[in-house]
Amino acid sequence: MTAPSVKRVELDYTGSERLTMNMGPQHPSAHGVFRAVLTLEGETVVGVDSVIGYLHRCHEKLAETLTYAQYPSIASKTDYVAAMTSEFAYVRAAETIGKFEVPKRAQYLRVIVSELQRVASHLLWLGTWCMDMGGALGGGATIFLYCIRERELILDLFESLVGARLLYGFFQVGGVRYDVPDGWIASCRETVDLLDSRISEYEQMLEENPFFMARAQGVGVITRELAESVGISGPLLRGSGVNWDLRRSDPYSSYEDFDFKVPVETAGDCFARYRVRMVEFRESLKIVRQALDRLPEGPISSRPGLKSVGQTRVPKGETYVRVEGARGEVGCYLVADGSAKPYRMKWRGASFSNLAILPHIIPGHKVADIVAIMGSVDPVFGEVDR
């Protein structure tokens, strides 16, 4: 191993009784496989070296070997917690280069599933974050189980829509693969109403709770300049006072039809990120309701159903498209050469950029704060390591 060149901060007293501690890759709050080599002075972290790549599957090389018909079902494996949005980014990139039209119904279905997916992903975030702070043997586990209980409802919806609970393969170039089954819209409405009331319950448990506030407020502050320079996106960026939501600033898939708020908090700490996500829950549910109300009739795909592997060919060209995933800007830089496979694909995982903020903000905090900050960043290692 090469010696890590870690930036260390100095405490304002002399002495160097430093302890190097490995947090991860197997650690209860590593959120997957993340290794942080911490330099500690007592309980205070003075330096951190993050090691990632344990889950690397070389998705970008894989994309060069798979066709536009095959890859969407693999794309869901990048961000497996919000699989719908990662498929979305890839499919949209191919559509942008090929100038394939997407029927209105497909666009609305895409919006519905992406927003439900955002709620599901945020539920998992809230649960795991509270578990990081509260422990599996404390109140955190309670909130975690409540969140999982509600997330199951959304997964049940997805299961009756596509037949799978985690990796969906719902998107295809030109539209979506599945139309809604009978009764799905009614059960979706019921679930959305139930979720709305349950989210208020989480807020009651956390919102003004002194234990929670003490852990979240003023911890892991990201200034606006740092946030932009590192390129973090999504709720983290909005928690740092930047009004930037791709659904609003760069609308795609008929997002301009819907009425929703973009929450912005200026404090930049863990609590601000929590607030942003809690508002996003509600806004996503609002979008789902609107989309269900206005779901147009019509075809779900502008292209014929898939019959063979090389059916979709994309003309020569290159593009970068981005969608607002649950964790931020999920981007796909696609270079097509006219064949059935991409020439090059770069996956901009939101978590990769978001995680890069850690070495900047962790030093100076206590060990216990690291897990709070990690949890508020909400990394998914499938997307970090790709």
Binding site: K7, V9, L11, D12, T44, A69, Q70, S73, I74, K77, G139, T142, Y146, E152, D156, E159, S160, L161, V162, G163, A164, L167, G169, Q172, G175, Y178, P181, Q204, M205, E208, N209, P210, M213, Q217, G218, V219, V221, T223, E225, L226, S229, V230, A267, D269, F271, E297, G298, P299, S301, S302, R303, P304, G305, L306, K307, S308, V309, H360, P363, G364
Partner: protein
């Protein structure tokens, strides 16, 4: 203008001090604590959501993507697979291997192997199948300690097809749903015309 560096300890402390609530609002704190405890107490009297799985199997939705299987044709009771290898080519993790057996009336699959342990249940093989031969089942429990038992050959795939309940999706149904755009568009146009 240089790129921002690591935050200093002084900064971290300043941030923390700026947001510190000194716990003066005792009434508010007590109320918040009681609110949280009331929430857990309320859930104490809710029905548990646990499903006693092996005793009470959960109901699978119609489109459930489970075990893969081969089916026989309904009327002739012949194997439906014609060994065209479309599923082999579309399979993203490349777990299907098919050899074709040429015959007079129609073709058959000479061998058909599926490495279920690497399958990712994306349903693309079902989607492309021209004869609805490969389908998915409403079951997933094939847990085993030996991954070799998950290397399925043609006979086992047919056996699974007889053993479990079939899901909704077949190749033709899926392609119908996605719809040839021309036909769907024509239908769509017709629908829009009728009320007008």
């Amino acid at each position: 203008m240089a790129a921002p560096e690591v935050q200093t300890v002084a900064q971290v402390r300043a941030f923390r001090d700026a947001r510190r609530t000194d716990g003066t609002d005792v009434v508010g704190i007590v109320r918040a604590i009681l609110a949280a405890m009331r929430m857990t107490a309320r859930n104490l009297f809710r029905k548990p959501v646990t499903v006693h799985y092996p005793e009470k199997p959960r109901t699978y939705p119609d489109r459930y993507r489970g075990l893969l299987a081969l089916v026989y044709e309904k009327d002739t009771e012949e194997e439906a697979c014609i060994g065209c290898r479309l599923c082999e080519m579309v399979c993203p993790p490349a777990v299907i291997k098919v050899e074709m057996l040429k015959s007079e009336k129609r073709n058959y699959a000479k061998t058909f192997t599926l490495e279920l342990y690497a399958c990712e249940f994306c349903e693309l093989c079902v989607q492309v199948c021209p004869t609805d031969a490969i389908v998915m089942m409403k079951s997933f429990d094939m847990a085993t300690a030996d991954r070799r038992t998950l290397l399925l050959d043609k006979d086992r795939l047919h056996a699974i097809g007889l053993q479990h309940q079939q899901s909704w999706a077949t190749g033709n149904k899926l392609r119908d749903m996605q719809g040839p755009p021309k036909m769907a568009r024509a239908e769509h146009a017709a629908k829009e015309e009728t009320p007008a």
